[in-house]
Symmetry: C2
Subunit: 309 residues, 2 copies
């Protein structure tokens, strides 16, 4: 098992979905990804919070073996705050408030003890900040990055530098299309591959995720749930589950990328069963293994032989 | 191998996609489904065309062993005509013209030789017409039906009678949500199951399809294509491939429903590589088997063992 550096936002969220609402609860990409990864590996977390950030989320991480040396708490500062409303089918959401607060000056400095880590997830942050983190990592580190439509629009050059240096780009379907400028997802993923990463993982929400790399093509559905409560953090929990499995196996062969996506899918399914960290907090390793096995059954079908036809 | 009754529209289509256009070409649900099914079984086709319907489409079917006794040609009549335009990402389309013409009085009468068939696909038609066909079939016949948003809205009672009598309902995701009145697809499919069919197959376009039945849950992605030219007929080709495999195997166990969905997925992928019947006409059985095997590789991932973690 290897360590995993996880860099990104740590936030307070106010969320409204058709199934309820939560006010000023713990969220943020680095939090979801770290709690998700902590089921499989030891996260080394990098982020910044204000005085208002609840201690129990960090205690949860610490209790699972996470290293929090890279988490800065700004005294007198306020944590990144986001609020949003999801529509009827949870497929889209509207942001109501985005207050960067202490996250506006986020300048991630990796503690010495993080710098030889072999795995890293760079959650969605300004590409220049992602580049600054890449400078601090060992060159052999396997890096997954996320981004968002805003940076694709406004910081395409810097994002291009990031993509040229990471191993795996994790993007949702709309972002892949936007980045590539073409509607066919497969073609779009190929265009993103040409920008540098060894692999592109396209997140499709309830429709699952697809891996496109120079030597593989893989698709996995989402884990079927009777009740989705809050999709916030699904993508970051997926990413955390992925990088956690890769670090645990310490081998990024194609089959392990596939298995990492299955782990990410399963862990993300627990994240969206409740608001904030409720679902991830309750998720235990034997349930991860159970859902993983169910996913394998869900996609299995027997061969069709030409001779038999 | 068993015979398959296929009932539905036979049309002339004018289609515009971002990749080109086709004017007054052969289409219609029964045509796509029958040509698709003819790769695996012998379709017994029921439909109505006008004098303007090209002979070569029917010749193609006849050359593949289809029975066309149930196809009525109305002298002096015009065929069902549809024209539509697809948007940029092919995910949605706008209908420009729908002229029912001879299809307006479609009153399907099954020739005596069709009535003992063990498999039937009832394509999207007015539910009352679907019921009239059900009256003519042997009670042990395995029936798949399709429908559309218009009938869900305007003919819910008659559609309910159809659903109570068929074995498998084939619907797209929006139709399942509309029929069930709930956004969670899994829950919605369960509600449709309660209406009567043994199984519900949810078509999700480029995101594949999901089977929900009383004893199974299965998801399959679409077959990845570098170039999709025209999605018209994808759902009907999928249905034809499904019912064709079931008739070929003459066994509707859960695993064969899964294999039928894989066959449908593969055959539909060929249908959308060209306008009209171009793709289906070129598709040969060894290519079906090759794509089917590729699909199995695309979804495969190795187990995760608790002991190893």
């Amino acid at each position: 098992m290897s360590d995993v550096v996880i860099v990104g936002s740590m936030a307070l969220d106010s969320v409204k979905t058709p199934f309820g609402s939560a006010d000023h609860v713990v969220g943020g990409a680095a939090i979801y990804a770290s709690v998700a990864a902590s089921l499989l590996a030891a996260p080394q977390v990098v982020g910044v919070v204000g005085e208002d950030f609840p201690e129990d989320a960090l205690e949860l991480l610490a209790s699972r073996g996470a290293n929090l040396e890279g988490v800065e708490r700004v005294s007198g500062g306020k944590s990144f705050y986001w609020s949003g409303v999801y529509d009827y089918d949870l497929a889209s959401r509207e942001s109501l408030v985005t207050d960067l607060n202490v996250f506006a000056d986020f300048n991630p400095v990796l503690p010495e003890s993080y710098r030889e880590s072999r795995y890293c997830f760079l959650a969605n942050i300004q590409p220049q900040v992602q580049l600054a983190v890449l400078e601090q990592l060992n060159e052999t580190c396997f890096v997954m990055c996320d981004t968002m439509d805003y940076w694709i629009e406004s910081e395409r050059d810097a994002l291009g530098e990031v993509l040229a240096r990471v191993d795996l780009a994790l993007l949702n379907d709309a972002e892949v299309r936007q980045l590539a400028g073409t509607p066919n997802l497969g073609q779009a993923a190929e265009i993103v591959l040409e920008m540098g990463p060894h692999a592109v993982v396209v997140k499709k929400g309830e429709y699952g995720a697809t891996l496109v790399s120079h030597d593989d093509f893989f698709t996995i559905p989402s884990y079927p749930l009777p009740n989705v409560v809050d999709p916030t953090g699904a993508g970051d929990s997926f990413a955390g589950g992925m990088i956690g499995l890769l670090a645990r196996e310490d081998d990024c062969c194609s089959m392990n990328l596939r298995r990492a996506m299955a782990s990410g899918t399963v862990i993300a399914s627990a994240a969206i069963e409740d608001f904030s960290l409720g679902g991830l907090r309750r998720l235990e390793l034997d349930e991860v293994v159970r859902r993983y096995a169910t996913l394998r059954e869900i996609v299995w079908f027997e061969a069709l032989e030409l001779e038999a036809l």
